[in-house]
Amino acid sequence: MSSVVQPCDAGIIRTFKAYYRKRFNNLLLDGYENNIDIPEKINILDVFRLAVPAWVEDVSPATIANCFRHCKIRTSNIIHTQQGEVGPPIALIQELQHQVAHLPYGNPMDIRNILNYSEENNYMVVSNDEDITNCIIEELYLQQDEDAANDNDDSVEPPKISTR
């Protein structure tokens, strides 16, 4: 359950994602330019290389401070009327639109849709206690299997634990 008084929800996460998308789009554009086959086929290591600088270098201290102020969780912030940007800067949104216009898409998505993609809210959607238990069991299984799994690749799925 998210909270309206949570600075991360106020815009820090959305801004981070916009910078991630910018870096990802750049990777695609470079890939197409250099005739790389399926440039969108990236792995989790590539995700680190996109996400870490998007967080460390791109998200500005001003955005973070604005998001905290915006939530008015400190008494001295209640009277502050000038807010500043709490989401991705307008210039960044424009850049994302510019990038998407240059990608070979059949039916380009509105940038706002990709920055508020509903599937991404699904980080801890749990329908019942059984789901939670199974998730924990599978995680424990993964830990125990760490040595044995050394040679496994991405295609190996964790075992399915039946719920019925």
Partner: protein
Amino acid sequence: MEVVGAALPDIRAVVDAYTKKDVFNMDETGLCWHLQADNLMATHQLEGRNINKERITLVICANSDSSQKISLTIIGKHLNPRCFKGINRDTLGARYHANAKAWMTQNVFRLWLLDFDRRMQGRQVLLLLDNCLGHIPLEEFAEMNVVFRNTRIFYLPPT
């Protein structure tokens, strides 16, 4: 919204007791990491039912004067992805965890908090959190004998 409004004075009383650099907020979010801004492809992926495979969870945390961004934690589905072979994970700039759903679980949450608390050595900080299901209620930490020396955890009211 009204629940939050009513709780704001209490939240402020807690936050005001800490300097800005000592107030942190952590939250997690899903990221469909190679989702493309193309409706045709997204539909195709949905039909292929593999869109979930492509989602990871990220943990984001910063303090209110924005002097400190805590390095990311990334939760994926595979404990030892092939692409990590030969890579020293300490050089990745973010922590990596894995579980079958790529979710924030109570286990990952507990490890994240213990690590955060260690980083706050010598300080007394406030960590604001929401009531997501992966987050462990404070009384359960007491039962687990998990003690945070440098961190006060404060759960924000649900929206």
